[in-house]
């Protein structure tokens, strides 16, 4: 088939590939094709260098010293927070809480927002699409409080059944927690519409944005999200740093998640006065080098342009779906009308784990297994899938190489 025009070496995007040193290596004798971006994306030189530069020149603890290095470290740490605020169009910098990643962001909301509010008989609504990190924290808080976890169904294509979800939002529901983009199927969930419906019933909404922020412009105010969680390492930054965006009024009313240094104004053994936002939620010495790298990643993404990234990833995904669809014996899992980055599939009766080994032999990195979404595997009646996930640095050659490697798998297995 023909390659969509924007997938062809669009100059800016093709040039970007050279910014990612990890992509320039050979694996098992072949040039690396990295299609495991939904698990973790590679970092550009800007990020790698900024982390190293920070450690080499500016490292000290933040918010604690009057000396020069401490001030520099604080400027970098807080500068990255400003960059993140701008990226997602939050109103205030104090609405940006640093966490270890999406998982910790969601746990923070479960324990600090939900736990004090939930009573036996209350409910939290999620969807069948969710990653374990947007299931288990709610199960834990429901266990702690006697609340009920309700799961909205999806259809065979992997689309949340919006009407049924909205039908679940009754007066007992205290929170809707929903993914923006499915990590397994790539489904883009119409979160804006769901948030509007939830707000119509005064139900706040947490959006798991881990798979959205790397691939599209996200505007938390346009969406109306009350909480929005994402991870640094999936958006070309370092691991161990992530973000919880929360509306100021909600964050203000929440107790701290962890106690320790930095989250207090005054401590005596009789009691403690908690610090202002966002520091109330940032106990202990934070991941300063991670914030430095995340700030660099935001700067890099803005320089490439998220509109352009979204267009390229969208067109390349369409090309990948078409090419994969031509492979004999393939079953595409996740065929929603709105998708980003991700395609899951099975090939004949070859177990995904065997597929992963065979394509790795040809230098191609894909994820195989349950993708931390076992309920979704049960829905499709499969033990796992193979999953190829794109980033803007991927191109049509990468997709062609994947398709060729699947032919090799069919040959070995006689499928």
């Amino acid at each position: 088939m023909s390659v969509p025009s924007t997938v062809q070496r669009e100059i800016g995007i093709a040039d970007c590939r050279a910014d990612f040193p990890a992509l320039a290596q050979e694996v098992n004798g072949y040039p690396l094709v990295y299609l495991d971006n939904a698990a973790s994306a590679q970092a550009p030189t800007d990020v790698i260098d900024e982390v190293a530069r920070y450690q080499r020149e500016d490292h000290a603890n933040v918010h604690r010293g009057v000396h020069t290095l401490s001030q520099r470290a604080t400027e970098i740490y807080e500068g990255a927070r400003d960059a993140i605020r701008r990226l997602i169009n939050a109103a205030e910098r104090r609405e940006i809480i640093y966490t270890r990643g999406t998982t910790e962001s969601i746990n923070l909301v479960a324990q600090s927002y939900c736990r004090p509010r939930l009573e036996a008989g209350d409910a939290i609504v999620i969807s069948h699409l969710e990653h374990h990190s947007n299931i288990v924290p709610w199960q834990i808080v429901c266990e702690q409080t006697g609340a009920e976890l309700r799961v909205a169904p999806i259809d065979e294509r992997g689309q949340v059944q919006a009407e049924q979800l909205i039908g679940m939002l009754d007066e007992r529901v205290r929170l809707l927690a929903i993914t923006h983009v499915s990590n397994v199927l790539g489904t883009v969930v119409p979160v804006r519409e769901l948030i509007d419906a939830a707000h119509g019933r005064d139900i706040p909404v947490l959006v798991d944005g881990a798979q959205a922020v790397p691939h599209m412009p996200v505007d938390v105010r346009a969406l109306g999200a009350d909480f929005y969680a994402f991870s640094g390492h999936k958006m070309f930054g370092p691991t161990g740093i992530g973000v919880l965006y929360g509306k100021e009024a909600l964050l203000d009313a929440m107790p701290p998640y962890q106690g320790g240094g930095a989250m207090i104004l005054e401590v005596s053994f009789e009691g403690t006065t908690f610090n202002e936002l966002p520091y109330k939620f940032e106990a202990g010495t934070p991941n300063i080098s991670g914030a430095a790298g995340l700030g660099a990643a935001v700067g890099y993404l803005e320089s490439v342009g998220l509109d352009r990234i979204e267009r390229h990833v969208h067109d390349l995904l369409r090309y990948m779906m078409q090419r994969l669809g031509e492979v004999e014996g393939i079953r595409l899992i996740g065929t929603a009308s709105e998708k980003a980055s991700v395609q899951s599939f099975l090939l004949g009766d070859i177990h995904p784990h065997d597929l992963g080994t065979i394509v790795d032999h040809q230098g191609i990195a894909i994820r195989t297994g349950h993708h931390c979404a076992m309920p979704l595997m049960d829905f499709y009646g499969v033990p796992g899938t193979a999953r190829a996930s794109l980033a803007f640095y991927n191109n049509a050659d990468d997709v062609d190489r994947l398709v060729d490697s699947l032919e090799k798998a069919r040959e070995i297995f006689g499928a």
Binding site: N28, G29, H351, P352, H353, H361, G369, P383, F413, G414
Partner: protein
């Protein structure tokens, strides 16, 4: 793993015909209604999940063995080969097979130690030795064997390869 990465020969060695045959047509597949010992094996990495059934007679002889579950070609073939191997065997001999196999699949360095235990001829289980070049797949090959050890020792928790 070899310095230059995985070669085509190594890939063929992993998926040799005997392995593919047992993966496609696993022997002794299904429940064993009169099992005396059972154990589950779970490989968290790739979601392999199998249940092993043994009927152990009064003389500690494994009179019958079956398994069910789902997994990759390597784990299913390994379980199939296991049942083929241990039926008719004394439990202590089956456990020696388990120990020898786990040792030999432990990676390239384990090859040297294999001679030390020359008393055990792994026979067609040698077909599993291809995993030595694929560290991420060793757990697939040993999962059923860990379940065997658990079943014989009557442990109640599912076996893992950790």
């Amino acid at each position: 793993m070899s310095q230059s990465g995985i070669t085509n020969e190594e890939l063929r060695e992993l998926y040799k015909e005997l392995i593919l045959d047992h993966a496609r047509s696993p022997r002794h597949f299904g429940k064993l209604p009169d099992a005396t010992h059972t154990a589950e094996g779970i490989n968290m990495l790739c979601g392999d999940k199998l249940k092993l059934y043994l009927r152990i007679g009064p003389e500690d002889r494994i009179d019958d063995a079956r398994f069910e579950g789902s997994g990759c070609a390597i784990s299913v073939a390994s379980a199939s080969l296991l049942t083929d191997t241990v039926i008719g065997m004394q439990t202590r001999d089956a456990l020696r097979f388990f120990e020898t196999l786990v040792d030999r699949l432990g990676g390239p360095s384990a090859a040297n130690e294999a001679d030390a235990d020359a008393a055990i001829d792994l026979g067609k289980l040698r077909a599993l030795e291809g995993v030595r070049e694929f560290p991420s797949r060793i757990k697939c090959a040993t999962l059923a064997w860990h379940a065997l050890s658990s079943a014989i020792h009557e442990r109640t928790r599912p076996a893992t390869t950790e």
